[in-house]
Every structure is written in structure tokens, then in C-alpha cells.
Amino acid sequence: MTTIGVLGLQGAIREHVRSIEACGKEAVIVKKPEQLEEVDGLILPGGESTTMRRLIDRYNFFEPLQQFGKAGKPIFGTCAGLILLASDIEGQNDAHLGLMDMTVARNAFGRQKESFEVPVEIKGVAEDFEAVFIRAPYILEVKADTEVLGVYDGKIVAAQQGHLLATAFHPELTDDHRLVQHFVEMVDQANGNKLASV
């Protein structure tokens, strides 16, 4: 059975677990680095990226997470998770995991009162995905073979690079599981059992 982990340090963990289970897969909350060995794919949830980074460092998650991604295991980052994945962050010298070739801007849509929801077309996934943006980042530029999946108001809000997927918004705050389903298919594909997902 395909098992998908949710990094369980802080943020909207329960909601992602619910989405994974709604897609018929087993979900594991990953609180310790050794648990990464038990999962086929990993979701980096929404939350506060600075808080998550502190906890990643303190519990020696950094290298295991990088290795997980470099080994070709799928990772899906939402909002704070997108920031953790990015190779470059505007205005900062250091990125976090740096796995995905793109430059992101933090809190780029403004403060909480500017937060919003809007239907967005996600290439190959949905024509009208209910995208909830909360103090959200966006992608300033994709690099290498990172592919743009969604654009809102001229800003890139969803992208994929092979086995890595990132959204600036929070699919976990809706009952629309199509993006998680897309990720589940990426995990099945990486597992080489593509037929199992049909």
C-alpha cells in the first residue's frame, strides 16, 4: 500500500491527512527523521515557514529531507512548503531545502487582510480549482525544467519539476482533493506501480 507522509512539525497537518485518506492512501504524520523511511511521498504542509525551518534544524531533519527529494521520492509543498522547497528566496541569501529550481517571494500578496480565495486553472488537474491564499508567497521565476501549472493575476502560483510539486495556495483548506490526487499519482508513478492508481 502506498503511504504518504505529512511533515508533522507545525501547521495544517490534519487537513492534509484527511485529503490523503480521501484519495484512498495511507497517511503518516512524520515527526521524526527516521519515519521518512516508511513513506513513499511527503507533503510539506502550510504553516509558518520560519517556524518549520527552526524545527527542521533542531531535529536534524534537514539532510534526510534533502536526501528524500534527491532520491527521487515525490514531495508536495503547499504555501510554507513551497518556500521550503525553493532554490531561491527573494531578499534572502539562503534558501531552505533548495530542491526545486525556482525563485519565490514570501508574503507576496500582502498581509492577512489582503488574503483571498479565487478559482484558478491548474494545468492537467482542474479548470477551476478553489485556491485559498493566506499571506501567500508566489513564484517569481521558474528555472531549469520546472513547469508552470497555474497562474493567477500574472503570478505563478503552482509548479511542478518532475517528482516535486508546489502550490502557493492551500488545497488542504477545501474539500477539493484533485491536487492531492495528482500528487498521489506522482507517488504511484515513482513507485513504478502506475496501474495501481487507476
Binding site: G8, L9, Q10, G11, A12, I13, R14, E15, K31, G46, G47, E48, T50, T51, R54, L55, R58, C79, A80, R106, N107, R111, Q112, K113, E114, S115, F116, E117, V118, P119, V132, F133, I134, R135, H170, L173, T174
Partner: protein, 295 residues
């Protein structure tokens, strides 16, 4: 393509992103930076922490905008700020300044002793205190997007926060086992909106996140509140009234994340220096009980 701001999903979702985290009271940019570096998910900007408000007496109001602005400019994590209960204008001022969340708080002296703010009318989300399910659901009815226990702020005594968290949990279980005809009488008795009680009965949980607040003074206190079902914790006077705020703040954050890892909590609790001095509830005069300032 229609873009909507200030929807319930956007306002409640913001609080969902704070789950499992610690929100720290700060009174200036320097403290805000310490809190952010320690891993706080947000800071609460105010002029004085609750224990100092308690000591100073008199009327406690919204902080001087200079303080709030200084904190807003100092950190990239969300900034919350307190308005007096019922003080529509203080709340509007904070919204205009760009505060990410407003705490309509009993820590400040209430501006209105009958009505709370109609929070549905705001784009910025609100957090409110509660002691029981009726109070929790009245606040949600008024538009609160996040709840916290009231506890008894500025005392360093966890007993009231524990009481309030348990009370809400117990009452949720009671509501779940009630027949529909009992529910309307329960709504009448507790002042909780009937529709929200129906929702609680169906889902078995509050429709918004509920943090612990009011009296958390040690890493173990934070872990205890998580054990009792809190979604996260607010620490007010505890951090910057301790001997070593940096270490204290980090320890509270870690104890909240790993609240069931007791060996870790033992390690985190070592050599923290003196925690803030505590107050026993029976030593408080009735008029000094902040939790009773609103219904």
C-alpha cells in the same frame, strides 16, 4: 474570475496555519525578533504584558500604534494585536494598520460591558477568549475565526486554562450525545447559536481552532494544554518575565511540537532559571479576575 477577501475560509484558514505553534506576547521589536528566532508562529504586539497590566492597574487600552508598527516592521511572521472588548474603533485602527489578527481581549479593560464587536463585518480575522462551549459559540456567531481559553492571564497559574479547555471538551461530548429536541433547550440555556450546536453534534469538534491561553509558564504547561486538546498555545507574560527569554521561548516551542515526548520535555525544562512568579487564584479579588470581564 471572482476574487474574494475576508471569507470564513480565508479567516479561519489563517488560524489553521498556526496549529501546533506558539504565539508570543511582545512589547517591542527586539522581543519580536527573539520570538521569531525561537520559532514562534506569530507574535502578539502589546504595550504591556498581562502581569504588568495587572500590576499597573487602571484602564488598559489598545497599544500605542508606534509599538504595533515597530513590531509589524520587525518580523515576517504574522502579527496579532489586542483591542478592547466592544471597541469597534480600536479594532478598525488595527485592521487599517495591517495587523494580521485581532484579539478582542479581556486582558484589556472592556469598552462595552454588554456587546462584543460584530466581527463578521471585518476583513481581518479575530480571536476571542472562552471559558465554555456557550461562550465559544457566541463568539463564533459574532464572527470570531479562532478561539482561545481565557485562563487567568498574567498569573503564571495554569489552573484556569485547564478548567476552560476541559469544560469546552466535555460540553462538546455532551452535545454529541444529545437528542435534537434537547439541543434547542441547551441552546437556550447556554446562549449558543442552535445552528452551530447542530454542526458540533455532526462533526464532534469546534469549527475553528482553539488555542490555550492564560497562565502558561513552563514547557510542561504548554505540553499539558496540547495533551488536553489545544491546537496551539499563547504565551503571554511567561517568556519575557523569565530569566532567559531566548532559551525559554525555544523550549516552549519544542515542548508544544513534541508534547508527548517526555524525555525531551525533561531535557527542555533543565536550567531554565526562574519561571515567572505565580499567583494563586484565591489571592485574586473578584474585580481582578480578567476572565469574568465578559460573557
Amino acid at each position: 474570475m471572482s476574487t474574494s477577501v475576508g471569507t470564513n475560509r480565508v479567516k479561519r484558514g489563517m488560524a489553521e496555519m498556526q496549529k501546533g505553534g506558539v504565539i508570543m506576547d511582545v512589547v517591542n521589536a527586539e522581543q519580536a525578533k527573539i520570538a521569531e528566532a525561537a520559532g514562534a508562529v506569530a507574535v502578539m504586539a502589546l504595550e504591556r504584558v498581562p502581569s504588568d497590566i495587572r500590576a499597573a492597574g487602571g484602564v488598559a487600552r489598545m497599544a500605542d500604534p508606534t509599538v504595533t508598527e515597530e513590531v509589524l516592521n520587525a518580523v515576517s511572521i504574522p502579527v496579532m494585536a489586542k483591542a478592547r472588548i466592544g471597541h469597534i474603533v480600536e479594532a478598525r485602527v488595527l485592521e487599517a494598520m495591517g495587523a494580521d489578527y485581532i484579539d478582542e481581549s479581556e486582558v484589556l479593560t472592556p469598552a462595552d460591558d454588554i456587546y462584543h464587536i460584530d466581527k463578521n463585518d471585518f476583513t481581518v480575522p479575530f480571536v476571542c477568549g472562552c471559558r465554555n462551549l456557550g461562550e465559544a459559540l457566541r463568539r463564533i456567531g459574532e464572527g470570531a475565526s479562532m478561539l482561545r481559553t481565557k485562563g487567568e492571564p498574567g498569573t503564571g497559574n495554569i489552573v484556569e486554562a485547564v478548567r476552560h479547555m476541559r469544560e469546552v471538551q466535555t460540553q462538546i461530548r455532551q452535545v454529541q450525545s444529545m437528542a435534537k429536541d434537547e439541543l434547542m433547550v441547551y441552546a437556550k440555556e447556554t446562549g449558543a447559536p442552535y445552528e452551530l450546536l447542530l454542526q458540533i453534534q455532526e462533526e464532534g469538534r469546534l469549527p475553528v481552532v482553539n488555542f490555550a491561553a492564560g497562565g502558561i509558564a513552563t514547557p510542561s504547561d504548554a505540553a499539558l494544554m496540547m495533551e488536553l486538546g489545544a491546537d496551539g498555545v499563547f504565551v503571554g507574560s511567561g517568556i519575557f518575565k523569565s530569566d532567559n527569554p531566548e532559551k525559554f521561548a525555544r523550549s516552549i516551542v519544542e515542548a508544544t511540537t513534541h508534547y508527548q515526548d517526555y524525555e525531551l520535555i525533561a531535557k527542555l525544562s533543565k536550567d531554565l532559571g526562574t519561571a515567572m512568579p505565580g499567583l494563586e487564584m484565591s489571592s485574586l479579588q473578584e474585580q481582578d479576575r480578567m476572565q469574568d470581564r465578559s460573557e
